[in-house]
């Protein structure tokens, strides 16, 4: 097994998704992810207020920083939590709907249409009902939707990435209201910070911002150890006792030289593991050359392609 591939994942760039593949325990505590998860839990531990008022949760951070994985984790946790209180969360995942080139108004209308289709398929909305008639007017549709849902039902809507369209997120902040919970991601965290103030004046419930960052100096070793521990428990190294060792401070140096995301590190280590496993002669220490070759192999193979 390659410890840098989560069991059940197809490749090293698939985000963690507890319940689909892996568990909450698969999350390494790197790049602030644990702190942000806790912040989310605290926000939703406050009681029914959040579900009554609705919420836009915006997860921001560099590419590969684990935004999708954090959203998955939050949704999984929330689902389990509210079910205990006899609530019925309905998760609508629209993240695969790629809308890169459209205008914000058209994108939002498209999402509104997809949402209504999904809810009708599940029998939660009437065909031809008032909500369905208002999909071209999201300003009116979301308030009506909020009202027609059953007393204990609430929607968890996972939005497609907004990219550089911070204005779109501000619109969703406006739509958030009772029983409507939006999750959004953006890698344009710089632009998001610049326009934070606009979210608060947009109307709707105050959003929750969760920020992920690049890896901290010690995160490289934390991640390596975290995954190797699992390997030692479940895996075997084909060339003997265990894989070659990483020199002290090597990973610290690697993630400190420039901002690096957990996604990039995972890709590199996954490629490195495959490289070492294929080596006929096993070195005792993993050299810079090994890292470089792994990095090069990654580029040549295109396995990191999104």
């Amino acid at each position: 097994m390659n410890p840098f591939l989560v069991p059940g994942c197809v490749n090293a760039r698939t985000p963690l998704n507890p319940g689909v593949h892996g568990t909450h325990e698969d999350y390494a505590d790197v790049d602030h992810t644990e702190r942000q998860f806790v912040a989310f839990q605290e926000d939703f531990e406050k009681g029914d207020g959040v579900l009554r008022d609705g919420r836009l949760v915006v997860v921001s951070g560099p590419y590969g920083s684990g935004k999708t994985a954090l959203v998955n984790r939050c949704v999984k946790w929330l689902d389990a939590k509210v079910r205990k209180g006899n609530r019925h969360p309905v998760v609508v995942d629209l993240r695969r709907d790629r809308l890169d080139r459209g205008e914000v108004t058209k994108r939002i209308k498209f999402i509104a249409g997809r949402l209504v289709d999904d809810l009708r398929t599940r029998g939660l909305l009437e065909i031809g009902g008032e909500v369905a008639q208002r999909i071209d007017e999201p300003d009116r549709m979301f308030p009506i939707l909020s009202q027609v849902l059953g007393e204990n039902t609430f929607l968890v809507i996972l939005l497609p990435p907004s990219g550089d369209l911070v204005g779109e997120l501000i619109e969703y902040a406006r739509f958030a209201r009772g029983k409507l919970l939006f999750f959004a991601e953006t890698a344009y965290w710089g632009s998001l910070r610049e326009r934070r103030g606009e979210f608060h004046t947009a109307g709707g419930a105050p959003p929750l911002f969760l920020e992920l960052g690049p890896l901290a100096a010690g995160d490289g070793d934390t991640f390596w150890e975290f995954r190797l521990e699992r390997f030692r428990a479940y895996g075997t190294w084909p060339h003997g006792d265990g894989p070659p060792r990483v020199a002290e401070n090597k990973l610290k140096s690697l993630v400190s030289q420039r901002p690096m995301s957990i996604g990039e590190l995972q890709l590199v280590l996954h490629a490195l593991w495959e490289l070492l496993r294929a080596e006929a002669t096993q070195p005792e220490w993993i050299s810079d050359e090994h890292f470089w070759r792994a990095y090069n192999m990654l580029y040549e193979s295109g396995t990191g392609d999104r």
Partner: protein, 746 residues
Amino acid sequence: MTTPQAGFANPFPSTANASGQPVDPEVAVHTPAVTTATALFDAFLRGGQQGEVLAVIGGAGTGKTYLSGVLRGMADQAEPPVRSFYAQVSATSFHGVLGSFVRAVKRDESTVRAGVRHLFAQVVADALGDSDLGRNIGSQLRAGQLDPVTLVQRMRLDRSAYLETLTARLEQLTDHPGIATALTLLLRPGFDHAVWTWLAGGEPAGVLRDRRITAALDTDADALQAMGALISVVCAPGRKLLLTFDELERTFRGDLPLTEETTTALRRFLASAVNAGAFVVLSGFMSFLENVPDDVRDRIGPTIQTSPFQPEDIQQLVSTSRETVSHDAVAPPPFSPQVVEHLADLTAGVPRLIVDLSHRLVRATRPTTPTIDEATIETAAHAYVEERHGAYFAEEVERALTEQGCKVVPNDYVDESPDSHVDFWVSESDSGDGCAILVAENVISTADFNRQRDRILTVKRRRPTSEILVVVKGFLAQGAARVLTDLTGRRPLVAQPGRIGRDLGRTAKAILASLETRDPVERVSNQLVKLGRDQANMQSYVAQLALSMNEIRTTNERHLAEIIDRLAPPSPAVEPGAPAQLPPAVEAMLDDALHVLAELLGRVDTLFTDSLHVAPDRARDTRMALRSRLRQRNTSAAAGVVVLLQRLISAFGAELRLWYAQEIPKGQAGRDTRQLDALCQTYSVACEYLPLFQLDELRHVTARFAGDVDEIPTERSAEIRASELFGNLAGRVQAELTGPTAVRRR
């Protein structure tokens, strides 16, 4: 380029290069302007990544566009090839230039995309730095060996952060957040149309509004920033660029000075283009340079003036053009020297017309003809008119005049003679005076000229207070042009294909407006003055002989020498005491004329003084410009004309004073006017044989470098002014001395 006709390969294109298309420098005609410009451009090509701003000024059709084409040809042949963009200004603002510039750049949009990609590669390389994993990658990115977009995608690098950094860098480069955002979007698929439409001045599409680009680029400053940004981006990978803005007289106008904001933006634009590595050619009439603000002019390097082609230039053009077809088909026969002279005269040396007419000359030549001769010219000129104006000329003219609000009567006759045909009688109302528009096909031969002269005289006789405008559809011999100008008081309008409606509409409107504002008494008085002037200029009809009898020239020169001898200043010994003063108005006329001439010679002094006292860092440019000016073949001739005119006017004034000092014989109402007539007539004849139009040449030559070209009018207006100031001096003097005021003085 070649069009086989009548057994010959035709080396001349059917339509001359009026759109800045590249011209092969190997076969280009190397006029002094072209030689200087190509030397400068060659130095730029061989040098580092430092640009240059070159001003090219000259009259309509003197080869400015051709010069740009030659530089573009050089750019194409450079190694590595240099991109070139040619934008013909069709508007009065830089905002109007933006559209044509962006369209020109977009035709080669891959260069812009490559430039943005190069800048993105620098951002990624900087981010990777010399980290262990980034080893060698930075240098490969900077050298263009790795595609930054693919790298970022494959290695899961922080694309959004890099794109934001790129936008920030582009903002520093362009000083415009919207332009920076738009250019960054070119790295992403699906935004091209929206970005290019907006850059060309269109309203921002929804996808751009979503990214906080909320307004069109609708000011001059915006347009200049956008153009500067595109140039910087194209040049970013170390690429050189040639950029021509042609017909800039439309943008730099005396009646529409640039705002401070535009001036600042223009200065920055030129600075950024030069720093980026662009060779910028600013081209237009002389008036364009005159209206360039001082702090912008500082950014302009050398100035080159284009002049009409001389016969030897035409001969070179013919020879090199024939060589281009000699290897693959039957080259046309050579042009006789007379044809070349005639071409120079009919086209006024305008390269565009020379090519147009040459194409048709070759086409009209029989396969067995050993030399293309003058007999072919009329056929070729006729073909030119047929092809360029077609059957809809009259309709186009009538529509243009009507659109100007004129009342138009086509095919009017002022009496019953065939000469009384007026193609269009134009007036503002049913009553009152109007303007007779007489359309001629070509005015090349003596017969052509006589026909138009007779028509003019008929109209003048029948409708003496009307105005007359001659419109020539094809070619107009220069001698005929001068005489027709004297006869009608305005230069004939030579129809430019595609523009005749607009040009004629405006001219007719201006004539009618002048009629409207003129007092009826003043009009009659002016007509009397005109009649007097016409009379004084009757001798100018002699010029028509020159159209067909070159041999008369020698006799005329001898005649001129005799006249000047006769008009030599009287010896003080013969005439003791100071001669009587003429009336102040006449003295003022003579003084004005002498003052203008003295001022012209003064400019020559200033030119030399300035050139010798220039700072060392500008000495090279100054020498180059001075050489270029002095090399122009008409310079010394023009200086000679000034001196001859000075002598002539001084002598004329002295003779007039002698005549005026005579006692009025008893029993007579005034002085002997026959003697005054003879004096004035002699002066006018002498003037007729001096090439007054060359005075303007001297004015251009002595204009300072890229700077104080003060009041340089267009060539046509200058020629008319010279004709009025010197050519018509005798007419005005005579009117003053014998007119109503003179009678009162007696």
